[in-house]
Amino acid sequence: MVGTIIQAVINGLLIGGIYALVSIGVTLIFGVVKIVNFAQGEFVMIGMYISFFLSTQLGIDPIVSLVVTMPVLFVVGVLVQHFLIRRVLGPNDMPQIFLTFALSLLLLNLSLMLFTANYRTVHTWYSDEAFHFAGLYVPYAKLIAFVVAMALSGCLWVFLRTTDLGKAMRAASQNRDVASLMGINPDRVFAVAFGLALALAGAAGSLLMPFQSAYPFVGQVFVLMAFIAVVLGTLGNVIGALVASLLMGIAESLGIQFVGADSGLLVVFVMFLLTLVFKPNGLGGGKAR
């Protein structure tokens, strides 16, 4: 029994690392640019397809292909911010909601057209391998994904805390006008924030590829989890989103183990609703960031 619980917690924690990459991106965009990016999941999907094609066409390991997906999606993020989002930023939220939602639909249908709805899988030498110790089972692919996800999250945190650009990003998220009085160009900071968020989504895609099939709708699962994590972890709070993602991964996994194979999300949503009832500002209960 104890072993089963520990195993379920390990499984949840490992997938929670991927949720964290997606939700940190969503929360970064929300905190800095003040918009909700409904298309975040589609960028995970794009990251997966990039890794898939690099692997099948050029034989590059999906996890190694991270060095391609991250910069590519960073640039995509900068361009999306500069040419699309920047034009609809204003006192009214509706245009932004429609824009990112439309972007999501566009990317979904574009990928259906280009890649078809077929499931694409990459099989690596470590896809079926796992650690065994004390009766527990830790698949390599998920462990690598988790470790890299945590490392990237840590890098982002260090970037936000120690570099001038990172501090400028936090300053702009707290007070955009006053930040501009410090010589901070809000457009530039927003573009970098959007770029970083998409780079993390791309990384999530690459990390998923060894153990998850790519298909046009794959991002929807992750973006759903990300939105819940972002709310649970207090909107705009990077650490909060990380912790909430890991907790949700664990809750989902325990749900699958003890409630039923298709009830993982049920447990997550119950946890979500209870949190909203008792701690409407998120688990931390504090202000954003």
Partner: protein, 234 residues
């Protein structure tokens, strides 16, 4: 150094200032005085680019500021310490100061600027690791002024630095501003506390209804019957 010629500005077509003409020379301390809603803050916001001009021009050391966004204006060395302190609440005191020297012209001298600010405001040095949002109003005001100094400003614009401060803190704040001015920084001071402001500045403009209604040296204004009646309560 800075010159406003017939500057008008509006928020959503509601005019806030109209035909304001102001001059400030190198090393001067000049006041913008008047009651709430007279257009003092809007004048500062027009200089720093936070509100767009609808007419007139602003020139700083010969350069026209009208087409520049706020961050470019800051890079020229105009520090605007906004009303109501507006520190970055979720960042530490030290981070707030560091970000004050984000502009390239100030970044190279960050360490010496930090030393200077911590010397002038020892209270900030004691609290350097504290989150700015958790400090008292007076401490946040010091931080806002210190953050403005981190830009190594040629012109330091202060909007109501005494607003909401206890009298003791108010005294301290004005002493510090005096100290900064004596080091050679030009200062444009917006104040509702007219008597207080006149002890600090050399000249002042009085605004009312978005227009300059009076202008003169501090001594002239302090002895003016209308100023005494309207602002000094004499």
């Amino acid at each position: 150094m800075i010159e406003l010629q017939n500057v008008s500005a509006a928020y959503d077509r509601v005019p806030a200032i109209h035909g304001v003409t102001i001059k400030l020379g190198e090393g001067e301390a000049v006041g913008l005085l008047g009651t709430n809603g007279a257009g003092k803050s809007t004048t500062l916001r027009a200089i720093s680019g936070l509100v767009k001009l609808t007419a007139g021009r602003v020139t700083f050391m010969g350069q026209d500021l009208a087409a520049l966004p706020p961050h470019k204006i800051a890079e020229l060395g105009i520090a605007h310490v906004p009303e109501g302190r507006q520190v970055f609440p979720e960042m530490t005191v030290n981070e707030n100061l560091e970000i004050g020297s984000y502009a390239p012209r100030a970044k190279a001298d960050r360490e010496s600027s930090l030393d200077l600010v911590y010397t002038i405001f020892p209270r900030l040095a004691e609290r350097r690791k504290q989150l700015a949002g958790t400090m008292s109003g007076g401490e946040q005001q010091m931080l806002a002024v210190g953050r403005g100094m981190m830009l190594k400003p040629r012109l330091l614009m202060l909007d109501e630095p005494s607003l909401g401060l206890a009298p003791v803190m108010c005294d301290v704040t004005f002493e510090k501003i005096q100290e900064i001015h004596k080091m050679g920084t030009s200062i444009l001071l917006v104040e509702q506390n007219v008597s207080r402001a006149l002890t600090l500045v050399e000249r002042a403009y009085v605004l009312e209804g978005g227009q300059v209604i009076m202008h003169g040296s501090s001594a002239e204004l302090a002895s003016d019957k209308r100023v005494q009646a309207a602002y000094l309560g004499l």
